[in-house]
């Protein structure tokens, strides 16, 4: 089986893609954001939610044949600590209690700990290519996998996977159209119509856990004003972005929380498109439209610069629409295309007034906490200057019951509405494309990638091809 990955997602996703194939996490996060067992078949909070007990499956072995034991997991977790990537900032100790039990002791409760365990790659120290996943890597360049005969759930029916990368997403789908690959990891929105029409290919659209926000640097003298940010939120017609820029393959966003999250409240207020209200709000904020004094700029209320990811055509088109819509209320946005690596550098240095990048939400609270909390952002280091959500995010981290979590999430939604740190534009709908030579288990709107080990060759299609 050949898999195509375009450059648009390659840098971010290739590693994750490989991890999905060759490594199983300790726990998984289901579609509604709840923690589900994986290598750990059971999780249990002890000691007033200060100790998390993990009970491991007994029939799991690594690709090299070694069994998965509590000692192996403890070594992995301790290595993370040593690499300054502890699963929790409140970690006290990590211990093995028997061959299949791991105890993670904390100095205080941390509800994000189970979700963060989802990101822990369980591999023997010093063996980055050995995991417990359904496939094992046999070659890095070109990236090639073979089925793990000892996979604890069931041996995959696909024997081998070869991964091809392309300069652009369009290049990848062109290869798919030519029949050079069986699976296209991401179908570009421009191509989705044509790929869907191809009878030899099935496409599987899904709601990705990524949204596009226009994030403000609250150190900007104007953008730090909450009424301005509210006005900017009201000035944006999110549905038109979905329609014009995304060929309808997205949904409007009203916040950073995963729309399917089990604790999210549908009763919370959201911003509706109302440019007149935005103008009134800006007028009331003392930001009238000032006529242009020279030929270099438009009559405007104020101006700011927004960085956006230049390597993916979608963002330029979204930027154009946002620019136009804000122009309609007298706000002059200079949209500045920046390559991804340079953009990330400037984000880390807070060298921006606003930026627009795809942002992961995860399906639980962890990613939201990491992105929007001013402190304790391991590896992120973003400085937006936004502190309003910190208290409720801290509170959410302390609670572990469903009721408390629901109340906390509702409060977080309220804070993000009242004091928006960004204009949350759209959620991305992505699509995978698979040759009809394969039968793919599929639930509507969900990502088929996590089921790759269950894909089977379609005997009828194979016969027809022969």
């Amino acid at each position: 089986m050949g898999i195509g990955i375009g450059q648009g997602v390659r840098r971010n996703a290739l590693g994750n893609f490989a991890t999905l194939l060759d490594s199983d996490p300790l726990v998984s996060i289901d579609w509604e954001g709840r923690v589900a067992p994986r290598l750990a078949e059971r999780l249990e909070w002890l000691d007033g939610d200060r100790t998390l007990k993990l009970v491991l499956r007994r029939n799991v072995v690594f690709h090299d044949g070694a069994p998965l034991t509590s000692d192996a997991v403890v070594r992995v977790l301790r290595q993370q600590v040593a690499d300054n990537q502890p699963p929790s900032e409140f970690l006290q100790s990590i211990e093995a209690a028997g061959s299949d039990t791991v105890l993670i002791r904390l100095t205080r409760p941390d509800s994000l700990l189970p979700e963060r365990l989802n990101g822990v790659e369980v591999r023997p120290p010093g063996h980055p290519d050995v995991g417990t996943g359904p496939f094992r890597i046999v070659s890095q360049n070109p990236l090639r996998f073979v089925a793990n005969d000892k996979y604890y759930r069931k041996r995959p029916s696909i024997d081998e996977i070869r991964v091809h990368t392309y300069d652009t997403q369009r290049g990848a789908w062109a290869a798919m159209m030519r029949g050079e690959i069986d699976y296209l990891h991401d179908v570009s929105r421009e191509a989705a119509d044509f790929v869907e029409a191809e009878s030899s290919v099935n496409t599987y659209p899904y709601l990705a856990a990524y949204y596009i926000p226009m994030v403000f640097n609250l150190r900007h003298p104007i953008l730090k004003r909450v009424e301005v940010r509210r006005a900017l939120n009201e000035a944006i017609d999110r549905q038109s972005i979905v329609t014009q820029a995304m060929h309808g393959r997205g949904i409007p966003s009203d916040g950073p929380l995963w729309p399917q999250y089990w604790a999210i409240s549908s009763a919370q207020r959201t911003y509706a498109f109302n440019p007149d209200a935005a103008r009134v709000r800006l007028d009331a904020a003392g930001l009238p439209v000032v006529p242009s004094t020279d030929s270099t700029h438009v009559a405007r209320r104020f101006k700011f610069t927004c960085l956006f990811w230049s390597e993916e055509p979608l963002y330029e088109r979204v930027a154009l629409i946002v620019q136009k819509q804000l122009f309609e209320i007298g706000v002059d946005v200079e949209m500045q295309p920046v390559p991804g690596n340079r953009l990330f550098e400037r984000m880390q240095k807070a060298d921006y007034e606003a930026f627009m990048v795809p942002t992961g939400s995860g399906r639980a609270l962890g990613w939201t906490y990491n992105f929007w909390h001013t402190s304790a952002k391991p590896g992120a280091g973003l400085e937006t200057g936004y502190t309003s959500a910190d208290p409720i995010l801290d509170h959410l981290r302390l609670v572990t019951s469903d009721d408390d979590t629901r109340q906390g999430v509702a409060e977080l939604q309220r804070v993000l509405f009242d004091e928006p740190p960004a204009v949350f534009l759209v959620w991305l709908m992505n699509a995978r494309a698979v040759s009809t030579r394969f039968d793919v288990p599929h639930e509507p709107n969900r990502d088929i990638m996590s089921n790759l080990w269950q894909w089977r060759q379609n005997p009828a299609a194979v016969r027809a091809a022969q």
């Binding site: 062109a174 159209m177 014009q244």
Partner: protein, 584 residues
């Protein structure tokens, strides 16, 4: 002989079936050609419409650029305003990836891009026409694209160009909407022979295919049409999947692309073939009906003729009671009635003939009896009278007694002949020496021959030949034949009786040099009461034939008037010797 049924079938085939078949062939052929021409014309119209749509598509996008140009013509526009106009148009017309404003030297004055212009911008000095349409090319993703440009006059006292990069993926959507039947699609071939758009969902991979050596029947078709405008615009070919396709082509005028509308011939001609089938079935049913009706009608017609034939044969076989019953009110019925009348009349005539024959035969028998018996009876009567007169003369009485006895023998023989005609002749079979029997007969008849003044000669075989027979009956046969020969031969003539033996047959031949028998009477001479003589019952040859056949032989006759007659008798030969010889 050609049977009337065959003639009838031929008649129906010639008069009804053949014209219907010819009509059917002509109709089906005309229908096929007409419908196929209609399909081709329809598809050609579609191809022409697609070509017009392409021109419209390009023209519309040129209008977009002209709209941009019109908005940019104001000389006081600021840079941000120019960029806003360009960006608004890119947003409103997503088929444009970007639109840029070029100065006369090719410098970018403004672009819709948020960064720098990315497309391959043409050098305005090389643009050959206004508007300018660049040849289609493949972009970095091997997808077709083209560049459009329109002149922007008097831009800040200098001219420039509005250049837009047009993604032909949008054209695909236009082409995708073209559908002929269920499986007919349009495709477009660019100036360089590459496929630009293909409405068939599964063939889009061929558009993205960067391999220039992939040559399909469609591309060949387009190339030939491009090279020679006289190339027929309709063609049937097999596509790369081996499916027989009907392809029609049209040339787009701006840009110079070739539009091909192709449809599987199976589907394209489905209606025509359905009509053909329906017409063929209808004609077939008409043919069948004609044949059945013709058969039924012909059978009823011919059956009456057959009935007439059967009765005719029956009548010929002597079944005079046969009659034919023919229904209807036509000439055949009249013929049947006439036939029955004729049969009735024939029976009447037959009865008349029989009556006349019976009367003639009675007359002949009576005359024969009178002839054969009157002389003996006269002699007997005279003898009796003379015996009475000369009763005392014993010698005379003895003479007359012998005369009476002799004549009585004659009378008896005549009566025996009459009796033998009515019943089998009693025969006693013994081995007989044929030469001896014949010799005896010749000797006995020698006196008659001498009286008639002719020669009677026996020519006997050198070897003795034997047969099973009755000496007396055979002697009678030979005497009868010799007597007939003597009576038919003029004085001085010759009568010969010869014998001859083969391996298993005995042959006795009697011939004369007499007057002969006419051919028309020859076949009847062995019948009862048939004679060539003026007198007699005519029983001699009939009885001779009867005796010969009772002895296992047969008798034939050949005669020529004026030359003579030959009777040939054949018997089975036997090796047994006569009893007399065996005894001796």
């Amino acid at each position: 002989m050609t049977r009337i049924t065959s003639r009838f079938v031929l008649l129906i085939a010639t008069a009804a079936v053949a014209p219907l078949v010819i009509y059917g062939i002509v109709s089906v052929t005309s229908l096929r050609q007409g419908t196929q021409t209609s399909v081709r014309d329809g598809n050609l119209r579609v191809a022409g419409q697609v070509a017009e749509q392409i021109a419209l598509y390009i023209d519309n996008n040129i209008r977009v650029l002209k709209s941009v140009a019109a908005e940019l013509r104001g000389t006081q526009l600021q840079q941000w305003q120019r960029e806003r106009i360009l960006r608004d148009h890119v947003l409103d017309f997503p088929e444009f990836r970007e639109i840029s404003l070029l100065g006369t030297g090719g410098e970018v004055l403004a672009t819709s891009r948020l960064g720098t212009a990315r497309m391959n911008l043409p050098d305005p000095r090389s643009l050959s026409s206004d508007p300018y349409i660049a040849p289609m090319r493949l972009d970095d993703d091997f997808l077709p694209t083209t560049t459009l440009a329109v002149r922007l006059p008097q831009l800040d006292q200098s001219s420039g160009w509005i250049v837009g990069q047009l993604s032909l993926e949008e054209l695909w959507r236009v082409i995708d909407r073209i559908r002929v039947g269920n499986r007919g699609y349009a495709l477009i071939v660019g100036e360089d022979g590459r496929l630009i758009a293909d409405g068939a969902p599964d063939e889009k991979r061929m558009i993205a295919n960067p391999e220039p050596h992939v040559v399909t029947a469609e591309l060949t078709f387009a190339a030939e049409l491009r090279q020679n405008a006289e190339t027929p615009r309709v063609r049937e070919y097999k596509d790369r999947n081996g499916v027989s396709m009907l392809g029609v082509a049209a040339r787009a005028t701006r840009p110079e692309w070739i539009v091909i509308v192709e449809q599987p011939t199976e589907e394209a001609y489905a209606t025509a073939r359905q009509f053909e089938r329906q017409l063929t079935v209808a004609i077939g049913l008409a043919l069948l009906g004609t044949v059945v009706l013709g058969y039924l009608w012909g059978r009823s017609f011919i059956r009456r003729i057959f009935a007439l034939t059967r009765v005719t044969r029956s009548l010929a076989e002597g079944k005079f009671e046969s009659r034919v019953a023919i229904k209807g009110r036509d000439e055949i019925r009249e013929l049947g009635d006439a036939f029955n009348s004729m049969a009735d009349r024939l029976v009447e005539l037959q009865e008349d003939v029989r009556k006349q024959e019976r009367q003639a035969m009675f007359g002949r028998i009576a005359a024969g009896l009178v002839h054969d018996l009157s002389h003996p009876i006269q002699n007997i009567g005279n003898s009796c009278k003379l015996i009475m007169k000369m009763s005392d003369d014993a010698e005379y009485r003895e003479t007359f007694r012998r005369t009476v006895e002799r004549e009585m023998v004659i009378v008896k023989r005549v009566l025996d002949d009459l009796r033998n005609i009515a019943r089998p002749i009693p025969l006693e079979r013994f081995a007989v020496d044929v030469n001896r029997t014949v010799g005896d007969a010749v000797e006995a008849m020698q006196a008659h021959a001498e009286t008639a003044g002719l020669t009677l000669r026996a020519e006997l075989s050198s070897d003795p030949v034997f047969m099973d027979g009755d000496v007396f009956a055979l002697g009678r046969v030979y005497r009868n034949l010799i007597l007939n020969a003597i009576q038919a031969t003029a004085p001085g003539g010759l009568v010969v009786i010869a014998t001859e033996g083969t391996r298993d047959r005995v042959q006795v031949k009697v011939y004369d040099t007499g007057c002969g028998i006419a051919a028309d009477r020859l076949s009847a001479i062995f019948e009862d009461f048939v004679t060539t003589k003026r007198r007699g019952l005519g029983l001699g040859l009939a009885i001779s034939k009867k005796i010969v056949e009772q002895l296992g032989g047969h008798i034939t006759v050949a005669s020529e008037v004026g030359k003579g007659t030959t009777f040939v008798i054949e018997f089975p030969r036997t090796e047994a010797r006569p009893i007399a010889l065996v005894a001796g």
